[in-house]
Symmetry: C2
Subunit: 304 residues, 2 copies
């Protein structure tokens, strides 16, 4: 019978090294093999004070906040979550290959807007910060958008050695604070998550407040709204938000335990390299490169 092609081999979990490839000094290990051999200290547990649960009918989206880059926005988001601001609100925008956006769809209408409680009504823009004091793990790979890219505490980031600033990058799963035209018009009540090709042009133009670490597949399938921006025409098309909660406001039994691979470990560097140069049975030509937003950020349920 004829061979029937499939993408079965287009695996994230590819098997042995390709015998025909130029022999590398060390035998190739797949990303999964590298993770399987990781040590407990390669992983860190999410800090409940920096963890947000976006609970939808379809399930829970877990978000890690980034107080090191946006301390004032994260402070306001903690307050809003603590006071149940988002509970009963909705995801009211889904633009294909770009973002979903959520919060109060009536927030612009003075007579209908949900009260902000004790959250601050004005915050400074937090587009970037001093790179000093940050443990920045630079990638060797070149980037078109920034002089240097890498990771800070697990967050995809960039920095400019000339002016000494650093900022978080817009990748798949990045959580940002929506704003109007004024750069200091965001307070963290209206949020968006990137669901499309990394819109890096937003870097240093919006305050990035965190990123999704689990549950992107619940956001990425939300039906798209109409062109050009994906705001739904009818309220019933919106996706209801059951609640957004700070993990530290919940008893331990109601939290979702997760560990993230530390980006300052050799294991992480090995995973990135195994993706940069794939030497398995499927790939015929290792890329020799990886873009910042293509580097996987491994997440796991803590082993019992």
């Amino acid at each position: 019978m004829p061979l029937r092609p499939t993408l079965l081999a287009l695996a994230l979990l590819s098997s042995a090294a390709c015998a025909l490839a130029a022999a590398p000094a060390v035998p190739y290990r797949s990303p999964q093999q590298i993770l399987d051999a990781s040590k407990p200290g390669d992983w860190r547990t999410l800090d409940p004070a920096n963890t947000l649960y976006l609970d939808l009918d379809a399930g829970r989206v877990v978000i890690e906040l980034a107080p090191a880059f946006a301390p004032q926005h994260v402070g306001n988001i903690r307050t809003l979550a603590h006071e149940h601001f988002w509970d009963g609100l909705s995801i009211y925008r889904s633009q294909d290959n770009f973002v979903v956006q959520f919060g109060d769809p009536d927030g612009e209408e003075a007579d209908k807007a949900k009260p902000l409680g004790s959250a601050k009504r004005h915050l400074p823009a937090e587009f970037q910060r001093d790179a000093k004091g940050l443990a920045f793990q630079a990638l060797p790979d070149r980037d078109g958008w920034a002089p240097q890219v890498g990771f800070v505490d697990g967050f995809p980031a960039a920095r400019d050695p000339k002016d000494g600033t650093a900022w978080l990058a817009h990748c798949y799963g990045t959580l940002g604070a929506g704003r109007n035209n004024d750069e200091d018009s965001s307070i963290g009540a209206e949020l968006y998550v990137v669901t499309g090709q990394s819109p890096r042009q937003l870097d240093r133009n919006i305050t990035v407040v965190g990123r999704v670490v689990k549950g992107m597949e619940l956001l990425s399938v939300i039906p798209r709204g109409p062109d050009p921006m994906g705001f739904y025409a009818k309220p019933e098309q919106r996706t209801p938000i059951r609640a957004i909660k700070l993990a530290s406001d919940l008893p331990a039994a109601e939290r979702t335990p997760l560990q993230l691979l530390r980006t300052d470990t050799q294991t992480f560097r090995d995973v990135a390299e195994a993706r940069r140069n794939r030497r398995d049975d499927f790939y015929k030509r290792p890329a020799g490169h990886i873009d910042l937003c293509n580097v996987p950020l491994p997440v796991r349920t803590p082993p019992q």
Copy 2:
């Protein structure tokens, strides 16, 4: 009342130039303003012989085939469509931030596979081609994956001036031919469309046969299958394919008329530049760069 932030201004259709930005020599025009001022000759009409309709219950996905890069695969795909190979088959894989894959889910099982009709059972790999004879519109932007990137007849592409080869790039919407481990194991019967962050590591590792020009929002929302690869566990989870048809096999009245902006025009270069350096009321810092897979490829219904 306090200002309520939204992403309203995060518009694709942004308005006037920002008065506070460093004044450019020419007033800024948004991509939409540039398109509104385009000439009829800036657009080309899809060739029905190179146009594939993927008809789902949710609607029609329109695909442009790339015979200049994959003549043998495109020939086989025309045969398969003409003989209704895909009608009644399904999208049987959806992996978050990667691909949807479709064709015959039983194609690997000799006793259950749908007959291939008069399609060829074996084709050579068509990963790349001689760059000679191609009108390659290079972008000035640097790229990590290839020495040079740009467009050929509207397709995002790359080339290597050293060895004189060119190839199609994996961006959002790219259509590729699934294969097994052997590089010549694809025949175009099993296909995938990129729905996630551009997986450029697949460039020159798989035969790219075309790209989606309309209807991505129907593919991008298809529920994800289970980790790690997104193949559904149950047949009823698959998305049925009503039919895949070649436009030239249909009477004119059943075709979807579309025009694409020609990538060899000043209008296209102006749109790319308007995205590379946004100088509107929203953006505070033009990126000065655009990645190949972030360049929009404008599509329109022909004006009456």
